[in-house]
């Protein structure tokens, strides 16, 4: 790794001093650049390639792993690049510059009653590029899926410093390889996203959220199977406790949001109530609009800043077995957020020996049931690998990285299996 002075001197051929700064502590780089044009980004990549400088594409910095050390050279933020949304309301399509914040994009789209279907955490500061690079999602995944279901086209600055396009601005397209899929969730290891085109959706006329408390998570998960059988316009679901539970206490709260036309939704509330009534729920409440906003904010926008934070994916039908296995070991201070229809669970636990033992058990359970775990945060002294369970196709992924970034300039060592 080169000294910040050496790199800084090289960067001055492209950037003014106002565009270069020392990186914040949480970043794995020494310096951060804030280009004013895409041309500067392209030149930066060429410079990096020529001088073996490593780059870390930076979004809003809201979803950073706890790297704990500086092992890369320069973070690249596109936030300052002047950018306009290219929105075609009649086509329900918009092309969005990567550096725009999610909330500003949604605000503009909402003027035409449209939205990007994703609802990731930290909408005020997350950038569109960051959301796509981390494949970030929220409870609306239930209805709309994830980024892979709504991204139509991307433009990426590749390892040669050239803008390359994949996909098209149409809702259907099968021309060429769908490289968008590779870039989504790649954590910036294949290039720097310049802009992304989304398939949009109309904002539902009405949203209603119901909250039901349960004594333990496996009983709540069981309700998911019942919900599938009944025709309901469900938009979001999430089961939470601990820091993610706005009600506090020790219960597990199942949040379910219905969305659609007002006339259609109202009778569905009763239908949903009656299903919950037959489950082992302790209670059920229809939230007011203000309560609903406040509750979803806690559920979706809370992001612990220390300790262990892990995303777990298991085969859906084994969620109940998963909870049966880990429930006896859960202690106070541990928090869970469950997306029951996707088999995804977030666990946060503090930094102590008991937590390490608990996590070992969790990893063992996942290995038995089939699934994966990714740490989004780890204590500095932790010995866990960020991805303790690796996919069998990892060798092919490494070859892809080698093919698209042969010099290893884009965030090397920050992805699955050391990619």
């Amino acid at each position: 790794m080169k000294s910040p002075e050496t790199i800084g001197n090289k960067l001055k051929s492209i950037f003014s001093t106002k565009e270069i700064s020392l990186s914040e502590e949480a970043l794995p780089t020494q310096l951060t650049v804030y280009p004013s044009t895409i041309g500067q980004v392209c030149e930066l990549v060429k410079l990096a390639r020529k001088n073996q400088i490593t780059l870390f594409p930076l979004g809003g910095g809201t979803h950073l792993f706890s790297y704990g050390k500086k092992f890369l050279d320069v973070s690249v933020s596109l936030k300052r690049i002047p950018s306009d949304l290219d929105h075609s309301p009649a086509d329900l399509v918009a092309t969005v510059p990567a550096g725009m914040t999610f909330s500003s994009v949604q605000e503009q789209l909402s003027k035409n009653g449209q939205m990007i279907s994703l609802d990731p955490p930290h909408t005020n500061s997350s950038t569109i590029g960051g959301i796509i690079a981390t494949n970030s999602f929220g409870p609306r995944r239930y209805r709309y899926g994830t980024a892979r279901d709504c991204v139509l086209e991307t433009t990426l600055i590749n390892s040669k410093g050239l803008a390359v396009k994949s996909g098209a601005k149409t809702v259907k397209n099968v021309s060429g390889y769908d490289l968008n899929k590779l870039y989504i969730g790649s954590l910036g290891t294949l290039g720097i996203l310049k802009d992304i085109t989304f398939k949009l959706f109309p904002i539902p006329e009405k949203r209603v959220t119901l909250a039901a408390d349960f004594k333990n998570p496996d009983k709540a998960v069981k309700l998911t199977a019942d919900l599938r059988k009944i025709p309901l316009d469900i938009e979001s679901t999430c089961i939470t406790n601990g820091v993610w539970n706005p009600s506090g206490g020790t219960n597990w709260t199942y949040f379910i949001s219905l969305a659609g036309g007002e006339k259609a939704i109202t009778p569905q509330i009763d239908r949903l109530f009656s299903i919950i009534k037959t489950s082992p729920a302790l209670n059920c409440t229809t939230l007011s609009s203000a309560e609903s906003n406040r509750f979803w904010k806690v559920v979706n926008q809370t992001y612990p800043k220390d300790g262990n934070n892990a995303k777990i994916t298991v085969i859906k039908k084994y969620l109940k077995s998963f909870f049966n296995s880990i429930f006896p070991h859960l202690t106070q201070g541990y928090s869970l957020k469950i997306f029951p229809d996707s088999g995804i669970v977030y666990i946060h636990c503090p930094e102590d020996d008991d937590a390490s033992e608990f996590i070992k058990n969790v990893i063992g359970t996942i290995r038995t049931l089939g699934g994966y775990l990714e740490f989004e945060l780890l204590p500095r002294e932790s010995t866990f690998e960020r991805w303790p369970i690796l996919p069998s196709s990892l060798p092919w992924m490494k070859k892809i990285k080698m093919a698209l970034d042969p010099e290893g300039i884009f965030a090397p060592g920050t992805f699955v299996g050391g990619i």
Partner: protein, 479 residues
Amino acid sequence: MKKTFSLIEQLQQLLGKDRVISNPDELIVFECDALTLHKNIPEGVVLPESTEEVSAITKLCSEHKTPFLARASGTGLSGGATPAKGGVIIQLSRMNQILEIDYEDEIAVVQPGVINLHLTEAVSSRNYHFAPDPSSEKACTIGGNVAENAGGPHTLKYGVTTNHVLGMKTVSPTGEIVEIGGRCEDSPGYDLTGLFTGSEGTLGIITEVTVKLTRNPESIKTLLVVFNSVEDASISVSNIIAEGIIPAAMELIDQLAISAVEQHLNVGYPTDATAVLLIEIDGVATSLDKEMKRIQQICLSNRAMIAQIARTDKEREDLWRGRKETVGALGKITPAYYTNDGVVPRSKLPEILADTIRIGNKYGLRIGNICHAGDGNIHPLILYNPDDKNEVENAIKVSEEIIKKCIELGGSITGEHGVGTEKSEYLGMMFSEEDQEQMKKIRDVFNPDYLLNPDKIFPTQSKRNKINLKKTKKLKGWL
């Protein structure tokens, strides 16, 4: 004296003579897929029954440096399963088992040769279906659907094949068996499942697929809307989408196609109509009435003559039978047809349909238009006589002009049929050389010797000069 066995002999040793076709008369069947304009006879066709056999076949072909490709029903319309450079066709139709259906997980694991509709039929009693529904669903296979990222009428609401695939087992050109994705909704690393879907059989041979099953909607309403002009019908489609209404399906059929359907199927389309829209909405019963009423209003405000909701399941089935068999019906009124597949932004539908008619008239060829109108995905069927060289050339010119027009309007060269051999020379209309280079690097990772399904997707050197490639120097404008 030592005798070196030929590839065909070695394949016969591997599979037995009854599972290797090498008789030239029998090979003719495999000279093309449903794109009959491009033909080439393979040297042999093999019929494996397991992933391991596919692996052994690809190893042998690679050792012999012989091109090979996977094929199933051969219903593809872009030459994806045409042996462009000869070689061996790995015919997957015997790998046609549904290996597992798991309702709790809402998934099925299938072999590539399973017919699309057979999966829906297998799960329909439990109120599920497989959402991608190409018009060829009775014949096309799920392996082919994945390779081409197939669509269909209901992809307007439910998405295309890639939105319904969780994982797959594939065989690399050198015989390595690779499992990608899986049964979990998210798996770490690059999304190879998304990459392989739609890669047209150029990255590996799919031998197992894990797909999502979709719950049937509680209620379905199907509307037949009759228009006096294609323009009014297409404006209605654009207006419906612009209003934020996303039906489950929204199909447009023009007069020529209507008359062919009625002549041969008699499903109840009005033969005096210039165009009809088939619009379907589905979901929770209480949600549908208001939406359907608004759709009817929009159509009537655009001079629709009739906007009639199907009253019975039989009526609905007939309307869909007509739509799904339109291509076959048109085939009965012409010696040959060329199915085009272009896409435009949905608001440009009126413009592209007007241009399609104009282009057909210019070359004196009849065109039957059917469209997945809600997606902006057009399928003009260009009718021609294959024995008339002039008509063949004109059919190709008509198709090319339509595709160029789609690109001018901000669209794509293919919405769901794939690039194949048909449109490989058009790829440069959409993608710069550097864009293509990025894709080729991925191809070279999985298919470095380019023996697996060669001469597909990317322009071949010989024809390259004909196409106006976008130049990467466009970037200069940004610097």
